[in-house]
Symmetry: C2
Subunit: 339 residues, 2 copies
């Protein structure tokens, strides 16, 4: 039915090995032979059977990317970046949505896709501190985010504490003092929520501003909706913030929406800064000041690390932790008239 290397070899009058060599770019082939094979391939419309090669080599050229969900802009843009970075290395990306469910994250770690992928880039959300043992998988894996520190695997993350501190310091620098924090997970320490709150509190402390729990907006999942409702809760409690630091952009947009619905002006009455630098923030009204956590750098680094792990021996595996660079993108939600 489908044309195989065999057919090509026959047509070109060479052995199947020679065809294989041509297809794989083996250099020591007589030009005339190569030409013969190439034209046979052309004539027959031959296409390499990737599956057969996979079975033979034990490699698939596919890496998995497990993330909560694509409909969250941050992850969609992260996926985009990972795909582009992987492509540059000749790899294809298979996306797996975990819906932030622990069971699905465990499934990902169980390695059901082990034979289909050469490795995994995993952005966990439900799994956290105390689950380090689950990470001892026997396939190449690179973690994204900061739910788990000092785990047994490579880790690409961002300067959460420092970047969050910088965000709050930036608001303080604008003269704001009553700064709401949106996206707080009370009791959490090692996750993004814990770290960003920590940075926020550090900035307040350094400025001599007492932290006011009435200004903490709890939000489990970091969606626009939860940002809006967390903001609403803070306002309903009677607090009157003059600034908001939302722990991600989605919540910042939701919070900003809630503020404006209530007739508060952004940034005149309340300045808002987010975290993530998703594209949405550019065209919101006002545009959203945010912390760019270095998403592209994270994607590139994660892919590079994974490629290294895939290629390398499993023995000399010293887990590394890489931090991406961050910077504040100043826009209209903190500076009147900014683009």
């Amino acid at each position: 039915m489908a044309v195989t290397m065999h057919d090509v070899a026959q047509r070109a009058g060479v052995s199947i090995k020679t065809v294989s060599n041509v297809v794989n770019g083996y250099p020591y082939i007589r030009d005339t032979t190569r030409t013969k094979v190439l034209s046979a391939i052309e004539d027959l419309g031959y296409q390499l059977n990737v599956t057969a090669r996979n079975l033979r080599t034990g490699r698939t050229g596919i890496i998995g990317l497990a993330l909560p969900e694509l409909s969250l802009p941050y992850f969609a843009e992260l996926a985009d970046a990972v795909i582009v970075a992987a492509e540059a290395q000749g790899l294809t990306v298979l996306i797996e949505q975990t819906s932030s469910e622990r069971s699905r994250e465990l499934e990902v770690l169980s390695g059901a896709r082990r034979h289909l992928t050469d490795g995994l880039i995993f952005s966990p959300l439900a799994i956290g501190a105390g689950d380090e043992d689950l990470l001892r998988v026997d396939f190449p894996m690179v973690l994204l985010g900061e739910r788990i520190f000092h785990g047994p695997v490579d880790h690409v993350t961002m300067h959460n504490v420092e970047a969050a501190r910088a965000a709050t310091e930036y608001l303080i620098g604008l003269g704001r003092r009553r700064i709401a924090a949106i996206g707080v997970h009370t009791g959490e320490v090692v996750g993004s929520a814990g770290l960003r709150l920590q940075g926020h509190l550090q900035a307040l402390e350094r400025a001599g501003i007492p932290a006011d729990p009435a200004l903490f907006g709890e939000a489990g999942l970091w969606h626009r909706a939860t940002g809006a409702s967390a903001m609403a809760a803070v306002l309903d409690s009677g607090a009157r913030p003059d600034a908001v630091f939302a722990f991600n952009d989605a919540m910042a947009l939701g919070a900003m929406h809630e503020l404006q619905v209530r007739g508060l002006r952004v940034p005149a009455d309340v300045a808002v800064i987010g975290f993530d630098a998703i594209d949405d923030g550019i065209y919101s009204t006002p545009s959203l000041t945010t912390v760019d956590p270095g998403r592209e750098q994270i994607a590139r680094t994660a892919v590079a690390l994974l490629v290294e792990r895939i290629a390398g021996k499993e023995t000399d595996h010293v887990p590394v932790q890489v931090y991406a660079d961050y910077r504040i993108l100043e826009r209209g939600s903190t500076v009147p008239g900014a683009p």
Copy 2:
């Protein structure tokens, strides 16, 4: 190294075929045998080698999804929906970004992934009318969108003309008369731009409102940025619209941003309606009235059709065209005070 069916068979004291039967849920197996095999699998931590199965069966359980880019919210949400729909059918989705480049779309059609995927859901953007021949691929494919009508393949699309007409009629119903259209592709007929413009013009005509080219905002790619600049161009030309119909939500958000930057109030001065019903529109300020084109339905239908094509004989292939249902979601950008 890795444990194979062979190892399991040995351990369980049965033949390899029996193990295969158990793994594949073949019913006629003695319970005691099944139990033996299952516990051997458990003991050894055996995992089926999907690659080998793929080679043998010629199926991979993977379907491709080719789309412009994930960082466009519409496509991210579409991908999400397709992945969920595919999962329900036991299929995995491999996403391929074309960056809206013709060369990459052609590559997708060339079937380079043919052996890795069982079929393809393809949302073309660069390929269009006149390219029908390119669509005569010899693997199962379902098209999304409406760049190509009457092609030789299955097609899942939306009621573009009717939905666009409904959008403009809705604005007219609000008493608006000078309605800008954002996202126009002059000269295009069969694409989304052409169809939505057509619906828009139909509504104007039925209401006896003359179409004013000064109110057409050209925008090649339908991003937030182009929506903003198209809106700017319309306003700079001196036109004074009292409403905007943007051909997608991203442009609507960009346009709304531009309007507000210029001090125009939405919806008081200018009412805005978009198209797509992406999540962003819920939390913009004001929230965005939009046309919901039935994205989930489209995803489900596309996957179902593809599954049918994969299973079916290639002979009885009568291309079908399916239209999803649409409805208008009324929000704050057209009705003051709406949520």
